[in-house]
């Protein structure tokens, strides 16, 4: 075919006219195309139908089988590593396992003799009907919350009846020495993780977004790790590795609060009916102090990657020896307002609010801090003051991202960044990533001001 003919073939229209007799309208065969087949029986009709059905049924069955086999995840997955030990690689919660011990290779069994690892749910002693509102005192409020908690517990008991009896078994011939990154990821049920003495290495991202995790408890014989009241540290307590997302639930139980409390917001109609702002304020302050305060021990030099993410803290006390805050170290803590640095000559290992009493403190980050990782303080809109000391050498990209916003023409959250160094010294000595200064107006890309050579408040 010549080039010209080819072009003609590609043209949108073609003027060839064909004559189609009236009695051939449903049978006229165009050259180069299949002939029409309208209201005519097909050859080997039944055979074709049968073949078709068989092919489809086989294809669907195979697909369902393989897909479900892939999707049916084993509860525990371990990988054998070169030294003959095992790495814990993945946990897939069937929905009723709320604690596990990582030390040996685990499996889950479903005994028929009624034995189970599932714990009985204890029902809180609370009134049978909803207490009258508005409430006035802390005691009345706690009674009110107890009632709500009891209803949740009764519902949970009903739900638990649908769960099978199970036993988590350990294979004591297969020690687990490491926990891989994202081994437990996006779990909503696990409350307590026990780390045994065999575990020598835990990736900082091993327990990522475990929404219900209250405590990580480490065997005291473990050579590399320890815990302080349910928070994971390296044995030398120089690095805080993981603060469980839902540790405040553990603290609530410890201090006698039945349910989570939230800051009283005037716009919130529902809470207005339960409590007045004046009556609520002192109770909230006490709750905030006991449940939402954390003192990082004085030995700590590094806050690990993703360490405090999603935790429900409002106040954090940092030791003056802290040098590094790794990437996403204090990421998305919606209630965190204050960071204090404390000075002490005695070693402090008590992490409760009581430890902070009487400490000499100053606002914001410690003198001596050198490294602020990427997104280290992102999505913390309740923060209201930042002071970057002269010791800081590196600030990662988006370090304070979305920790400020505009409301009614005002900057909320972090209103400005205060820098100890002068502008020239800062540019010379500090490496910064993109957008390290946060934007408060995203339409106009307005950044919060940076005060160089600032004095600490």
């Amino acid at each position: 075919m010549s080039k010209k003919e080819k072009k003609l073939n590609n043209a949108l229209t073609d003027d060839t006219v064909i004559e189609i007799p009236e009695d051939e309208i449903y049978t006229y065969h165009i050259e180069g195309l299949a002939p029409p087949h309208i209201n005519k029986p097909y050859k080997h009709y039944t055979l074709k139908k049968a073949l078709f059905i068989i092919v489809i049924v086989v294809a669907i069955s195979l697909s369902m089988y393989f897909s479900l086999s892939i999707l049916r995840t084993d509860t525990f997955t371990f990988a054998e590593i070169s030294d003959g030990n095992y790495q814990f690689t993945k946990f897939s919660n069937p929905g009723y396992i709320d604690e596990l011990t990582i030390n040996w290779v685990l499996d889950v069994e479903y005994p028929e003799n009624g034995e189970t690892d599932a714990k009985e749910i204890t029902v809180t002693d609370a009134p049978d009907s909803l207490p009258a509102v508005p409430v006035k005192t802390k005691e009345e409020f706690i009674e009110y919350n107890k009632y709500l908690l009891k209803q949740e517990q009764l519902a949970a008991i009903e739900k638990a009846k649908l769960y099978p009896d199970y036993k988590v078994t350990e294979d004591t011939s297969k020690p687990v020495t490491s926990v891989k990154e994202y081994a437990i990821n996006g779990d909503g049920y696990i409350k307590t993780i026990y780390i045994g003495e065999n575990v020598l290495e835990i990736d900082g991202k091993a327990f990522y977004s475990c929404w219900a995790l209250q405590r990580i408890i480490v065997d005291e014989n473990n050579p590399n790790y320890c815990d302080i009241d349910g928070v994971l540290y390296t044995k030398d307590k120089k690095t805080v590795v993981c603060y469980p997302c839902d540790r405040d639930q553990y603290l609530r139980e410890k201090y006698g609060y039945p349910k989570e409390m939230w800051e009283w917001v005037p716009q919130d109609g529902a809470r207005k009916d339960i409590f007045s702002a004046e009556d609520y304020a002192p109770i909230w302050e006490e709750y905030r102090e006991k449940v939402m305060t954390y003192v990082i021990p004085s030995t700590v030099e590094t806050v690990g990657e993703l360490c405090f993410n999603y935790s429900n803290l409002a106040t954090v006390y940092l030791p003056e020896g802290l040098k590094r805050i790794e990437n996403l170290g204090f990421f998305e803590m919606p209630n965190v307002r204050d960071f204090f640095t404390y000075i002490t000559e005695n070693a402090i290992e008590d992490t409760s609010y009581e430890a902070a009493e009487g400490l000499k403190t100053y606002l914001s980050f410690p003198e001596g801090l050198e490294h602020i990782g990427t997104d280290a303080f992102s999505f913390n809109p309740a923060m209201n003051y930042v002071y970057i000391p002269s010791s800081v050498k590196y600030i990662g990209h988006h370090a304070f991202w979305k920790s400020c916003y505009e409301e009614n023409g005002e900057i909320k959250g972090i209103p400005e960044l205060n820098i100890a160094l002068s502008k020239e010294d800062f540019k010379e000595n500090v490496e910064t990533g993109d957008q390290w200064v946060p934007i408060y107006n995203h339409n106009l890309l307005k950044k919060i001001p940076v005060n160089y050579g600032a004095e600490r408040k």
Binding site: G32, M64, G95, H442, N443
Partner: protein, 585 residues
Amino acid sequence: MAKVNKETFSKFFTEVKTHWKTPAEGKYVPYKEYLNIFFSVGANYTASKVLEYIYFATGCFLIMHHYKLPYLTFSIISIINMPLGYVTALIWWFVCDNLGFLPGKTEKKLYTVYVSMIAFGLALIFFDASTLFDPNSKFIIFLNSLEGMSATACFKVFGTHFLYSGWVGARNIFWRKKLIPKFGRYKYSLYSDVIPKCIVVILIGWLPLYEIADVSTRVWAANLLFAIYGVFGFGNVLETTTQSISPDPTERILVRTYPVKLSHFLQTIMTIIIPALVGTLKDGWADINFFRWVIPGTFIACAVLTMIGASTIKERIPQPPLEKKVNIKFWDGMFGVLHNKYRWINTMVGLIDSLGNGMLAFTSILYLYTFRLDGLPYSILTLLVSFAGTPPDLLTPYFLKRFSYKQIMIFYQLTRAFGNLGLVAAIWFCGENLMLCGTLCIVVMFLMEMTKTVPTSAGHDMNVKINDYQMYLSGERLESFSGIFGWFTGPITSFVGLIIPLMLLSYGFNSNWDILFLDEARLKIVVIPLLIDVVGFFLMTIPFIFWDYDANKQNKVMQVLKRRAEVTEKRALEAGEKISGGYKG
């Protein structure tokens, strides 16, 4: 020059004025209809684009920020729904390709089936069927082992699919029969769906089902809500109608290239306005007010505009009157589409394309996690990239004349492959410098968008031609029966489509998108799936080598269709029979 311009203008205005209400000889569409297309298709297209913010998958902002459902759960639900989907699809095609006109007895039987399905579905939703089994049985343990699910949730998801299938099936017969004779085979659905769709769009934002604490309960509740949302469609059907607006392919392309393309201008404006509104919300894309106010407000306004102009756009497929149309028997419909060689080629392409299934949208990751865009900057960048396709699209008629469909599609797949390789190179080598990496990605995306629109238009045009060819082959377009190819590919694609999600899970991605803020995680989550996609694009060039449907064949097909319509109508009129819905072209 000025004289030529003046003359050209004057000639153009006279032409428009003369043929404002009646088309020129040899043409089918009057100019007034061009104007109506501009407004109504614009509104319909924008409304359908706004609805793209709501879908039951991990990429939807509502699921991402509020429901937070595990990533694999979506695959599990689609596998639970798969067997029933096959059965209901059969009936669906049969009804659709007969345009809702069924023998009385068949219609009754189908209604009985659908109502029973609704009742069964409701029973499974209201009562917990898992209580009928021993909790320690292997079956229940297996169901509990599925990620994000429990035995209870599995049964409720199953029930939801029954409810959904019965409900859409019954509506399909009822509304098609009632509305197709009046509004045509495409746009009838706007009239039956507009009001319920508006209501469900409001409910999606306001029902706080995402506050349910238990994951598996949240899964089935969200699945139910989104299934109800899916019962009512509000697709871009007016634009589909314009694909059949004329039996003349040149006029079709002209309509598609100018009034239809220009009508997308409204959506372009919304592309700026919506993100700018989001920029004013405290939590940006994560703000629930986006789904409570911005989406319903925009959608309802566009839906109203759509309905105002919908009646003015006509479809003109040469076809016999509905009373005289070829009746499609079930197996004839099945074998009819299987005899269409071009559908096989498209199926092969789709099958290979499934290699990229389950991949997270690269643009979302780039805009939201690399660039951290919100508000106006997001609008402007999105607009800039999407605008890249407009100038080439205006030249679509030229490209379609100059190059064959085969050449265009092979070129398209190769540009995707090389474009994705460019993205991988930018991320791999400049990943640490966010601005440089992002800028390089934007340049590559701009080029990819430029080379996308002509093949997309060519694809749409060819799909219409393939339906014309099917009508020549089987006496009906069999658009629904063409879903049979999905029967063959579905089992394979659902299996292959698990490769990327399982890979992403091991890189830390689950229901929580925040992991993408970690540079190292983002690198793996983006690069590996992009490379798999590159392989797919190279392979997708192979089936197009066998494509040989050209303008000559199309012209002859259209002549056959016109002749059929003409003869059938003539015979019906001679016999004194009632006719409706036919078109002779």
